[in-house]
C-alpha cells in the first residue's frame, strides 16, 4: 500500500465522476423533459432498475449490449406510459403514482430478473482516452463509456430542442400553463404522455448503464436510490439540461468518493462515504430551496413546487 499515494484519490474521484455520473445524467435528462411538461415522475427509480434488468437480459440472450440498451429504453418508455396513463385520469396525484411505480418497477425487475443473477452478459465497450499516459490509475480513470459520450451530446441537444423547436415550445407551454396549451388546441394529456414516455426511455437507458457497464452485472442491490437522487438533481439544476449534466458529474464524483478512498486502503467509514450523494443532495436542496418564493426556472404547473 505504501507506493500508492493519496494523490490517487482525486484521480479516482474524477474517473468515478465520469463513470458513475452516466445513470444520473440520463435519468435527470429524462426527468427534466417530463417535469418541463408539468408533471413529476418519481417512478424513475423503478424504471432505472427495470431498465438495468431488461438490458442485462437482452444482452445475455442476444449477445448484443446495444440491443440491451434499446430494450431498456423501450421498457422505460412502457413504464412511463403506465405512469402517464394513470396520471391522465382526473384527480389522480402524480407524486403518489410515482411512488407506486417505484415499488412496481423494482418488484417486477426483481421478479423477472431472478434467473439473470448468475449468468454473465456481454457488456458495453469503453473508449480509451488515457492512451497518452503511462500511469495506470489515469488510464483507468479515462476509460470512458460510449453512453456517457451520447449523454454529453444529448444535454446541449435538449437545451436547443426545448428552447427553439416547435416541439419544445409546446412542451413548455403545457408545463407553464395547461390552460394556454388547451386554448391553443393541444391536448395537455397527450403532450405529457409523450414527455413521460421519453423521460422513461432515458431513465431506462440510464439503468442499462448500471448492468451493462458499471458495476456491470445484474443483482437486486444494483440501484440504491440513483433514480430518486436524479429527480432531486433536476430541481438543483433548475430544469436546465446543461446544468443537469454538470450536476450529474458532481453527484458521480460524490458517489465514487467511497470506492476511491477504499482503493487507497481507507475502508473506515466506507458506508458513510457511500451515503455522500444522498447527503449532498439533501444539503443542496436545503441551500437552494426556499419556502418564500418558487424556484427560478420551475415549470409553473409542477405539483412539487406549487
Amino acid at each position: 500500500m505504501a507506493d500508492v499515494g493519496l494523490w490517487v484519490v482525486p484521480i479516482a474521484v474524477l474517473g468515478g465522476a465520469l463513470r458513475v455520473s452516466t445513470p444520473f445524467l440520463f435519468v435527470s435528462l429524462g426527468e427534466c423533459i417530463t417535469e418541463r411538461s408539468g408533471r413529476i415522475n418519481l417512478g424513475l427509480e423503478g424504471i432505472l432498475v427495470m431498465g438495468a434488468m431488461c438490458a442485462y437480459g437482452t444482452s445475455y440472450l442476444t449477445g448484443s449490449a446495444w440491443l440491451g440498451v434499446l430494450t431498456a429504453g423501450a421498457a422505460g418508455a412502457l413504464l412511463g406510459t403506465v405512469h402517464a396513463a394513470i396520471c391522465g385520469l382526473p384527480r389522480v396525484n402524480d407524486i403518489a403514482v410515482g411512488i407506486a411505480l417505484m415499488l412496481f418497477g423494482t418488484g417486477l425487475a426483481f421478479y423477472l430478473g431472478k434467473p439473470l443473477i448468475e449468468p454473465t452478459a456481454s457488456i458495453l465497450p469503453a473508449i480509451d482516452f488515457g492512451w497518452w499516459s503511462n500511469v495506470s490509475q489515469v488510464r483507468a480513470a479515462l476509460q470512458i463509456n460510449a453512453l456517457f459520450l451520447i449523454g454529453v451530446v444529448l444535454a446541449p441537444l435538449l437545451v436547443w430542442a426545448l428552447n427553439t423547436t416547435r416541439w419544445g415550445l409546446i412542451l413548455r407551454t403545457a408545463g407553464e400553463s395547461s390552460d394556454a396549451a388547451r386554448a391553443m388546441g393541444y391536448s395537455v394529456n397527450a403532450i405529457r404522455m409523450r414527455a413521460t414516455m421519453l423521460g422513461g426511455f432515458f431513465g431506462g437507458i440510464g439503468g442499462s448503464f448500471l448492468s451493462l457497464y458499471y458495476p456491470g452485472s445484474w443483482n437486486e442491490g444494483l440501484s440504491s436510490g440513483q433514480g430518486i437522487t436524479a429527480v432531486a438533481l433536476v430541481i438543483f439544476a433548475r430544469w436546465d439540461p446543461m446544468l443537469c449534466f454538470w450536476a450529474a458529474l458532481l453527484f458521480g464524483g460524490a458517489a465514487s468518493l467511497g470506492p476511491a478512498l477504499q482503493s487507497v486502503g481507507l475502508s473506515q467509514g466506507y458506508y458513510l462515504f457511500n451515503a455522500a450523494p444522498y447527503i449532498l443532495t439533501l444539503l443542496i436542496m436545503i441551500i437552494t430551496c426556499s419556502p418564500k418564493r418558487t424556484l427560478i426556472g420551475a415549470p409553473a404547473e409542477l405539483s412539487i413546487t406549487k
Binding site: 407524486i95 415499488l103 412496481f104 458506508y271
Partner: protein, 367 residues
C-alpha cells in the same frame, strides 16, 4: 344509469332519510372502490402469473392458505401486520397536513438502532425498564428523523417526499456503518450484527397467541391517531392546514408547529415499529431489519385513505400477502419478489381508482 324518478317522499323525515342515504352512499364508496381496485389488481396478478406458466387457481389458493388459511398462517399474518400498521401511520399522520412522507423505512431503521443502543447501555436493569427505555429511544429517534423532513419542508421549502426517501438511504448507511464498525458483535461473522439485547428483555407474545405484543402497540397507536385526528383540536387544526394552508394561517394556526408535531408523531410510530422488530423478532440490529415494512406501510396508508382505523384491516390484509410469499415460493416456485409485484399492482390500481370517487352513479341515489 338512469336518473332517479321516484316521487319525493311526503314523510316529514324524508330529508333525514335522504341525508342518511347520501352519507351511507359515501361511506360505501370508500369501501367498494378500494375493494374493486384490489380485486382488479388480484385479477391482473393472476394473469401475470398465468403468463409465467403457473395456474392462477393455485396462486389464489396458496395465497389464501398462506395468509388466512390456518391458525398458524393467521398468527404469521398478524405478526407481520404489526410493524406495517405503525409504518402506515408514518405516512397517514403527515398526510392530514397534505404532506407525502415516504420515509417510514428510515425511521424504522433509526428507531431500531436507538432501541438496541438503549438496551445495550443498560443491560442489567429490570426488563420492564429496559423495554421502556427501548420504546422511548426508538420513538424519539424515529420521531426526530421524520420531523427533520417536516422541518426542511416548512422552513426551507425542501420537498418532503424526496427528502424523506433520501433519509431512508442515509439511515441505511448509518445502520450498515454502525453494525459493521463501532457496534459490531465480534461473534457475528456471516451477518454483521450488534450484540443481542438478551432474551429477558424481549417483549414476548400476547397470552394465548403466538403473536408478539407489537400488534397491540400498533392497534393502540392507530386508535390514538384516530382520536387525535378526528376528535381533538390539534387534529382539526391539522386538517384545516392540510385543506388550505392560507386559510389556516389567516385564522392564526401555527402551521410550522402542526407540521413538526405531526411529523414527530409519525416518525415515532415508525420508530416504535423498529423497536418492536428488535425486541420481538430479531433480538438485535442488523441489515435484516430493512425488509421493506416501511414501503408496505406507504401502500397501506394510501389504500386506507390515510384513515388510522382503516389502516388496521388493510395492514392485516397486506401482512397476509407478505406472509403468503413464503408458501408461494415453496409450492409454486415463484420468486420472493412476486409479493412486491402484487403490491405494486395494488398500489397502481388503487391510485387509478381515485378517479372513480363521486362518479359511480350507484352511490348517488340519496342526493
Amino acid at each position: 344509469m338512469k336518473a332517479d324518478v321516484r316521487p319525493v317522499t311526503q314523510d316529514k323525515f324524508g330529508w333525514l332519510q335522504a341525508a342518511w342515504s347520501e352519507r351511507l352512499g359515501r361511506a360505501a364508496e370508500y369501501v367498494v372502490i378500494p375493494a374493486l381496485a384490489l380485486a382488479a389488481s388480484l385479477a391482473a396478478f393472476g394473469i401475470f402469473i398465468a403468463l409465467s406458466g403457473k395456474d392462477p387457481a393455485d396462486l389464489y389458493f396458496y395465497m389464501y392458505q398462506g395468509a388466512f388459511g390456518t391458525w398458524f398462517s393467521w398468527q404469521n399474518t398478524l405478526s407481520r401486520a404489526a410493524p406495517v400498521i405503525l409504518t402506515a401511520l408514518c405516512t397517514a399522520l403527515p398526510a392530514q397536513l397534505g404532506l407525502v412522507i415516504i420515509g417510514g423505512e428510515g425511521a424504522l431503521l433509526i428507531g431500531a438502532l436507538a432501541a438496541t443502543s438503549a438496551a445495550l447501555i443498560v443491560p442489567d436493569a429490570p426488563p420492564i425498564a429496559v423495554q421502556f427505555a427501548m420504546a422511548f429511544a426508538g420513538m424519539t429517534a424515529g420521531g426526530l428523523w421524520i420531523a427533520l423532513s417536516g422541518a426542511l419542508q416548512h422552513y426551507r421549502g425542501v420537498n418532503e417526499t424526496i427528502s424523506s426517501l433520501l433519509l431512508v438511504y442515509i439511515a441505511l448507511a448509518i445502520l450498515n456503518h454502525l453494525v459493521e464498525g463501532p457496534m459490531r458483535d465480534p461473534a457475528s461473522l456471516n451477518k454483521p450484527s450488534t450484540r443481542e439485547i438478551g432474551a429477558a428483555n424481549m417483549i414476548g407474545t400476547i397470552p394465548g397467541l403466538d403473536v408478539h405484543w407489537g400488534l397491540v402497540f400498533g392497534v393502540v397507536a392507530a386508535v390514538l391517531a384516530y382520536i387525535l385526528i378526528f376528535h381533538t383540536v390539534f387534529g382539526f387544526a391539522a386538517r384545516i392546514a392540510g385543506g388550505n394552508v392560507r386559510a389556516a394561517k389567516v385564522v392564526g394556526l401555527g402551521v410550522g408547529r402542526l407540521i413538526l408535531i405531526a411529523c414527530f408523531l409519525a416518525g415515532a410510530a415508525a420508530g416504535l415499529a423498529g423497536m418492536v422488530e428488535v425486541a420481538a423478532v430479531q433480538g438485535r440490529t442488523n441489515a435484516n431489519l430493512a425488509s421493506g415494512y416501511g414501503f408496505t406501510g406507504i401502500l397501506v396508508a394510501f389504500l386506507a385513505r390515510h384513515n388510522p382505523i382503516a389502516i388496521i384491516p388493510v395492514a392485516i390484509l397486506l401482512g397476509g400477502i407478505n406472509a403468503s410469499g413464503g408458501l408461494l415460493q415453496r409450492r409454486l416456485g415463484l420468486p420472493d419478489a412476486s409479493v412486491l409485484v402484487l403490491q405494486g399492482m395494488i398500489f397502481l390500481s388503487v391510485l387509478a381508482s381515485e378517479t372513480l370517487y363521486g362518479r359511480l352513479a350507484i352511490f348517488r341515489r340519496g342526493s
